[in-house]
Amino acid sequence: MLELFDDYTLRTVALGSAALGITSGALGTFAVLRRQSLLGDAISHAALPGVAIAFLLTGSKAPLVLVTGAALAGFVGTLAVMSIVRTTRVKYDSALGIVLSVFFGFGLVLLTFIQRRPDASQAGLDRFLFGQAAGLLQRDLVTMAILGGIALLLMLLVWKELKLLAFDPDYGASLGFPMRALDILLTSLLVVAIVIGLQTVGVVLMAAMVIAPAAAARQWTDRLGLGAALAGLFGAIAGVLGSVLSAEAERLPTGPTIVLCVTAIVLVSLLVAGRRGLLWREVRGRRDRRRLRLAAVLADLRALEHQHPGAGRGHSAAVLSVMSGGALSSLQELERRGQVARLAEDEWALTDEGRTEAER
């Protein structure tokens, strides 16, 4: 693994993907918390025409130019979503759907229009669709690192206010914080996080980089700070792993590979994380069900004792099964625990210990 990082291309690719993973993971935490997960999808699709327009206007493919175009278009897309929701009765989901598909369609028109021009200077713009880690250059990396760093720094500077925005915007407004401005700031930071990932992951799948690390981190902690840090870490791991895999193996497109890595992290988190994990939940559920079954059999035996007084009288498993179902295995377990005694082949009775337990 270490010698991988001696390779110039790989180092660039891995560092770039790490930068994008950290930024989109940390900022995605807020998007997921605020139920704006799919805003990331709309922003990344909306960025496509920005890339094309930036190229058409300047004729340059410098990363800063394209990223600026993408960011502006992404921001316009977000504003469009917000104002559609505010000024019409069209709902949030439809507004997102319209903006993402229409902006993307317009971007396609521009891209195909550019591609059919005679000169070949446009080559490479289409890597924004699915991303291409291998194509990352040092200058891309610098742009990504600086922009991502600025976004993260800003996020830390207004951390407290953003926390307020995420959990209780009304309270924040009543304290006199400019919640609307903060909302716009947070969205702009999200736009930045998304556009720096476009070259590597592509517009189609960038949404996953916003949502998945945050959703995974959410399983491990209830604290916002820790969640954002974990999401950043998960994003970085998935970014590095995916881009290294895709650069090493043949015909393994970068964006999808990174997305599958991050999805794997989500699945593992859903299954095993903390107290919320599905596996633990299943284990707990089984244990609880078993305990309930044992208690039910004990209680039934106690009831039978009351109805048939006289010491040393046993009852058959069949009778108990009628009362609460599947009693035999429970009886055997209770016998192991010394709470039930087997008097004859199919004669079960409470021991003293079992009686105490049943009356408890």
């Binding site: 997960s37 990331g40 369609g105 396609l108 959703a215």
Partner: protein, 369 residues
């Protein structure tokens, strides 16, 4: 126009109408983004179907892809039901993963075999007329046209047959349950239609356009009408018009037809957003302006009625004093007085205003209310 061009436009219209019909219910049920999820994940279905069947033209492929589309919905619901992630995040987790698997499978095992990620994602309507269905010695037309016509017919039939179920479960799911319908069944039926339509359209126009055609025309219609049947008709019309306009835009720019169609649905929505008769931004702005003027005239009438017959009346009802009493700019006061005069609410004699009978009634009415 060549016959190829006519066929492309026909396909555009049929696809647009076929998408708009189930799309209308998605928009009304706030499930718009399900179309995004389905249209992406059916790529995986098409690839898997391709591995099983071995060619890309078999109708079995459509069925397989539609099933994967349904599977997406089921997965999203399962994920949501764990309580660990919310619905929006669940959608955003499921479809990128399925789509990624599809893309990787294509680029590793099916590259260059007609299945090509760009074509699938972006669609290439321009080539549709070359792929034709011929049997019994008869040319039945482009495959895409035939397939989409069948799907369109299916959509129309399903919506007509299950009209009351769809309508009820869309607008009042609780009542639907109380009356003994099963909204969940209706939901899955609708999702099957969406999935099948998306698969068919996907082949002709690509997955992103599917989203545009399913959401934007119904949303446009939603701004224009309050009636479900009219909404369906308008959505279909808007979709078809966007399809045609998109084709000619693409023709003029020599650019992607699917992209142009999506762009035109956006243009249609923007037009409705601005100009819709009741809900458009322009109509709303004009209504606000008119209400402001009407309110000002009422204020003027109340002001005059308040002081009518009192000693200060001569002073209070002078036009040049309105800026002091009602805090109106002089031009605005002038304008309101002129409007009120035209409506017969006041008479102006020189600078002094006097209420007419109509003006008195307006003031009294406004005060009572």
């Amino acid at each position: 126009m060549t016959s190829g061009q006519i066929e492309i436009q026909l396909i555009a219209i049929v696809v647009a109408v076929a998408c708009a019909l189930p799309g209308t219910f998605l928009v009304l049920r706030r499930l718009a983004l399900v179309s995004d999820a389905i249209s992406h994940s059916i790529l995986l279905g098409i690839v898997l179907g391709f591995f099983v069947v071995g060619n890309v033209t078999s109708p079995l492929l459509l069925v397989g892809a539609a099933i994967v589309g349904l599977l997406t919905v089921v997965l999203v619901q399962m994920l949501e039901r764990t309580g660990l992630v919310r619905e929006d995040a669940a959608i955003g987790l499921v479809f990128p993963a399925l789509f990624s698997i599809g893309v990787i499978l294509i680029s590793r095992y099916a590259d260059g075999v007609h299945l090509d990620v760009d074509a699938v994602l972006l669609g290439e309507l321009a080539f549709a007329p070359f792929d034709r269905i011929e049997f019994w010695g008869w040319d039945w037309g482009p495959t895409a046209l035939v397939v989409m016509s069948v799907i369109l017919a299916l959509n129309v039939t399903a919506i007509a047959v299950f009209w009351k179920e769809l309508k009820l479960s869309t607008f009042d799911p609780a009542l639907a349950i109380a009356l003994g319908f099963t909204p969940a069944l209706v939901q899955y039926g609708l999702m099957s239609l969406v999935s099948l339509t998306a698969v068919g359209a996907f082949d002709a126009v690509g997955s992103i356009l599917v989203v545009a055609l399913m959401i934007a025309p119904p949303a446009t219609a939603y701004l224009l009408t309050d009636s479900l049947p009219r909404m369906l008709v308008i959505a279909a019309g808007v979709g078809a018009a966007s399809g045609l306009a998109g084709y000619w835009l693409a023709y003029a720019l020599d650019a992607s037809i699917a992209g142009s169609m999506a762009t035109m649905t956006g243009v249609a929505f923007t037009l409705a957003w601005l100009l819709a008769p009741d809900r458009g931004l322009v109509a709303a702005a004009r209504r606000r302006a008119r209400q402001k003027l009407e309110f000002a005239q009422t204020m003027l009438a109340i002001h005059l009625a308040n002081h009518e017959g009192k000693p200060e009346a001569a002073e209070e009802s002078r036009i040049e004093h309105l800026d002091r009493h009602l805090r109106w700019q002089p031009d605005f006061a002038e304008r309101i007085v002129r409007l009120a005069e035209r409506r017969g609410l006041v008479r102006a004699e020189g600078q002094v205003l006097e209420l007419t009978q109509a003006g008195r009634e307006l003031a009294a009415d406004a005060l009572v209310r």
